[in-house]
């Protein structure tokens, strides 16, 4: 038996996407792409690679489905609670000295991460002077974020995460139950600016004191990782902080000399130059 796709075939698809739809996925790491594309291919029971390729080039609805399928959107509130704890202990004191706080959540998916940050800011009495920019390549994930609706079934887990992250209140005070959805407090949402932004092709659009980009870079190859880190560097104020996912690092980047990692295991770097 042969694997479903050869590397050349994946590259062919990526080139088609770029030529036809202007979306550049050529810098994405292949292993995950291969897995997601194979899944879509089998799910939709395509008879041949040629047919799959044809549909992707000619059917815009299918193209959008494809993008949604290959970008992994899994996220949760207070994912890695200790991360939030170290942000509030080691980054908030510096943020609090600022008259105005700008935070960028790049690749925020459905927004659980942004709401988590807003809750922490609120408890530190910083939310009133903060703006959280929430961006993602995929417009459909941003819909949930705009509505502040998250599945009720996860609230027990999130509440545990919240307490572990150092949350001080009753987590359920932040939402009201609407059947199977938890509708989060409008105050949190009122400080968010939600927009699509493609890290591959879009430019820097502001200067921030904190940039959070977690579990996005793992899907990029080394060259694209470096480019995106440069974009963050261009968008980060001096002495500002860059926060990555638990398995991502600045260590191998050319930029690492200009940053110092917080003195714990969390993946947060301070821009020192």
């Amino acid at each position: 038996m042969e694997p479903l796709f050869r590397d050349e075939e994946i590259e062919m698809l990526l080139n088609d996407l770029l030529d036809t739809w202007g979306y550049d996925f050529t810098g994405y790491a292949h292993a995950s792409l291969r897995r997601r594309i194979s899944r879509l291919y089998l799910l939709r029971a395509f008879p041949s690679f040629a047919e799959f390729r044809y549909k992707l080039k000619n059917d815009s609805a299918f193209f959008h489905e494809f993008v949604e399928e290959i970008t992994v959107n899994v996220t949760e509130m207070f994912r890695d609670p200790n991360f939030y704890r170290s942000i509030s202990e080691q980054v908030f004191p510096w943020l609090s000295t600022k008259p105005f706080i700008r935070i960028w959540h790049a690749g925020c998916s459905t927004g659980e991460e942004v709401y988590s940050m807003a809750i922490m800011l609120k408890e530190a009495n910083l939310l009133h002077k903060s703006l959280l920019y929430a961006t993602d390549i995929n417009p459909s994930v941003l819909e949930n974020l705009r509505k502040g609706l998250f599945p009720m079934q996860h609230m027990k887990q999130y509440s545990e995460n919240y307490i572990q992250a150092g949350g001080r209140l009753d987590f359920s005070s932040y939402y009201t139950a609407q059947y199977e959805w938890a509708k989060f407090d409008e105050v949190l949402h009122s400080k968010m600016i939600v927009s699509t932004h493609n890290l591959v092709s879009d430019q820097s659009f502001n200067e921030f004191q904190l940039i959070v980009c977690r579990n996005v870079l793992i899907y990029f190859d080394k060259g694209l990782q470096e480019r995106v880190l440069r974009l963050f560097d261009d968008s980060l104020e001096k002495l500002g902080f860059l926060a990555l996912g638990s398995k991502e690092t600045l260590r191998f980047s050319d930029l690492s000399a200009g940053y110092s990692q917080l003195p714990n295991r969390e993946k947060v770097w301070k821009k020192i130059k």
Binding site: P3, A31, R35, N215, E248
Partner: protein, 191 residues
């Protein structure tokens, strides 16, 4: 097989769940020399225990132990451990990739996911080993891996702490060898 000749296998990938750690330690007790190929372990467990597991294994084997980090090159003679809470994938340039997508078989890392990803890259140069466990993760992946040419070993159910996982594989497919953990270690030492 002659000792020290270059092995056909470019990667040994071991999957386990409940009772899997015990089996891994038994395998390691028989590997008295650093092998000529890399070994990668995908073990279901709670998050948070990553460094614990690396430390624990380090004390029980002569093989240097590392966490499988994204983008690092997989080197011969190392034992790599998949981190908790990510799927572990394999790139064709011989590096690891991590993936935070949905759990598979209620598991992340999922053994199925790693078996399939590795088999697509390593084909007949892959050795897949499935150990003790209480769910069916690994069966589908091993089936695909074998179709792609991988050699597949399953821990003998009667020697497994929790026989469900190896039994599930044996019910669904033919495998190359069924061995007790110690014998899997002996087999690997000869490669």
């Amino acid at each position: 097989m002659e000792k020290n000749q270059v092995s056909r296998f470019r990667l040994a990938l071991i999957g386990g769940s409940a009772g899997g750690l015990d089996a891994i330690l038994k395998i390691m007790s028989r590997l008295q020399q650093v092998p000529s190929y890399p070994i990668v372990i995908v073990l279901h467990r709670k998050a948070d225990y990553d460094t614990l597991l690396v430390d624990l294994l380090e004390n029980r084997t002569v093989i240097p132990v590392r966490e499988a980090e994204e983008k690092i090159t997989i080197e011969n003679g190392y034992l790599y451990v998949a981190p908790a809470d990510f799927h572990l994938l394999f790139e064709s340039d011989g590096t690891f990739a991590l993936d935070a997508s949905e759990k598979v078989n209620y598991s992340r890392p999922s053994i199925d996911v790693s078996f399939i990803s590795a088999a697509e890259v390593y084909r007949e140069n892959l050795l897949c080993i499935l150990l003790s466990g209480a769910n069916a993760d690994g069966t589908a992946g091993m089936k695909t891996a074998r179709e792609l040419g991988a050699t597949c070993i399953v821990q003998a159910p009667q020697s497994a702490e929790v026989p469900f996982m190896p039994e599930s594989a044996l019910k669904e497919m033919e495998v190359d060898l069924v061995l007790a953990a110690e014998s899997i270690g002996d087999f690997m030492a000869r490669l």
